[in-house]
């Protein structure tokens, strides 16, 4: 009987998570006039007009492409620099290693608003404003520390004997790292990529500051177009639903490693 109650509570909470999302999906399938005219629990005459508008208008769908572009760039960049560093943190003791790790962590925690001020000027100086690489680089500020943190956790659970055996077998370091070590922690790499994707995808403040037209993220396109069109709730909802879809797909692939990744491989 006790078990039943727990399940009921859990189901209620899951419903609480899903209902607001359902409501937005409901809005996205109706026209703005219908939304403002009638209160309905489900769309009576579902229409895909809102989605068609977004998928055919370049000023809308380019926002998705821009977001995808910098998110992928960011994940590659973050993984590329974080993998060797995480190995160093997990295997070697060196002067100032803990302090360095701490400094990285502070960047994950720092409020983006603090850096907002000079960020625009810094990236202008290097001619990076309104490029995908600018946003990818800026998001490295919090994703690289996170990636190092998670990867270090996964790497530390690989026994050191593996490294020593490979060394005795005559493997040089780069070859050992790429052909033996990386496959060993591939689930960790996947989880890290997922978290880089996640935090880069959901961030808006920096992405909006560093872009104007060419690399504008979808989340920023949403705010702009809505204020110009005088709040088209249907269109806004459809755009919102479309920003959730990539996330939902990605979660499905990493679902078994999610919990471990969230605890930074430490639980």
């Amino acid at each position: 009987m006790k078990f039943r109650w727990r399940s009921v509570g859990l189901a209620a909470y899951l419903a609480f998570l899903l209902i607001p999302i359902y409501w937005m999906a409901n809005m996205s399938l109706r026209t703005n006039a219908d939304i403002l005219g009638h209160f309905r629990l489900w769309p009576q005459a579902p229409t895909l007009t809102n989605y068609m508008t977004i998928l055919t208008d370049p000023s809308w769908y380019s926002g998705y492409l821009n977001s995808m572009a910098y998110v992928v760039l960011n994940a590659l960049l973050a993984l590329g620099v974080a993998l060797p560093a995480a190995y160093a943190f997990s295997r070697y003791r060196f002067l100032g290693d803990r302090h360095l790790f701490f400094w990285l962590l502070t960047n994950r925690m720092a409020p983006p608003a603090v850096f907002l001020l000079p960020f625009f000027q810094l990236y202008s100086t290097f001619g990076l404003i309104d490029t995908h690489i600018a946003v990818a680089l800026a998001h490295c500020l919090f994703n690289v520390p996170l990636a190092v943190w998670i990867l270090e956790g996964f790497m530390s659970s690989v026994p050191r004997e593996l490294d020593e055996m490979a060394h005795l077998d005559g493997y040089r370091f780069p070859r050992f790292f790429l052909t033996i070590f990386l496959p060993e922690i591939r689930s960790g790499v996947g989880v890290t990529a997922f978290f880089c994707f996640m935090f880069s995808w959901v961030e808006l403040l920096l992405a909006r500051t560093l872009t104007t037209v060419e690399a504008k993220p979808i989340a920023a396109v949403m705010t702009r177009t809505v204020s110009a069109a005088g709040l088209d709730w249907g269109l806004l909802s459809a755009a919102g639903v479309l920003t959730i879809v990539p996330g939902a797909l990605v979660i499905w692939f990493v679902r078994h490693h999610l919990a471990k990744g969230l605890s930074m491989g430490r639980a």
């Binding site: 002067l95 302090h99 000079p118 100086t125 001619g127």
Partner: protein
Amino acid sequence: MSDFEWMAWTAPTAAFFLGIAGLLIGMTVWQRFSPTRLQRGLLPIATTRGDRLFIGLLASAFLHLAWLGLTPWSPLIALGLSALLLVSVMRFG
């Protein structure tokens, strides 16, 4: 490379960052000649020399803020107090 005028450097802030850089280099050299050990003093956790430096600097920063926020006197006095604080944290922490 375009210019960095927007960084708005001033002599005092440049001196501040050079001071920090100097401290870091000094700590590295010190470590080379006499490596630090974990020590347990007045602070609730065991610390190395670098940890105590960081704690001391952070505490000094908060001391300055408290000084500016609560008293009308010159921040130079706070600077002197911070130096004392830093030395005592390094020694007894």
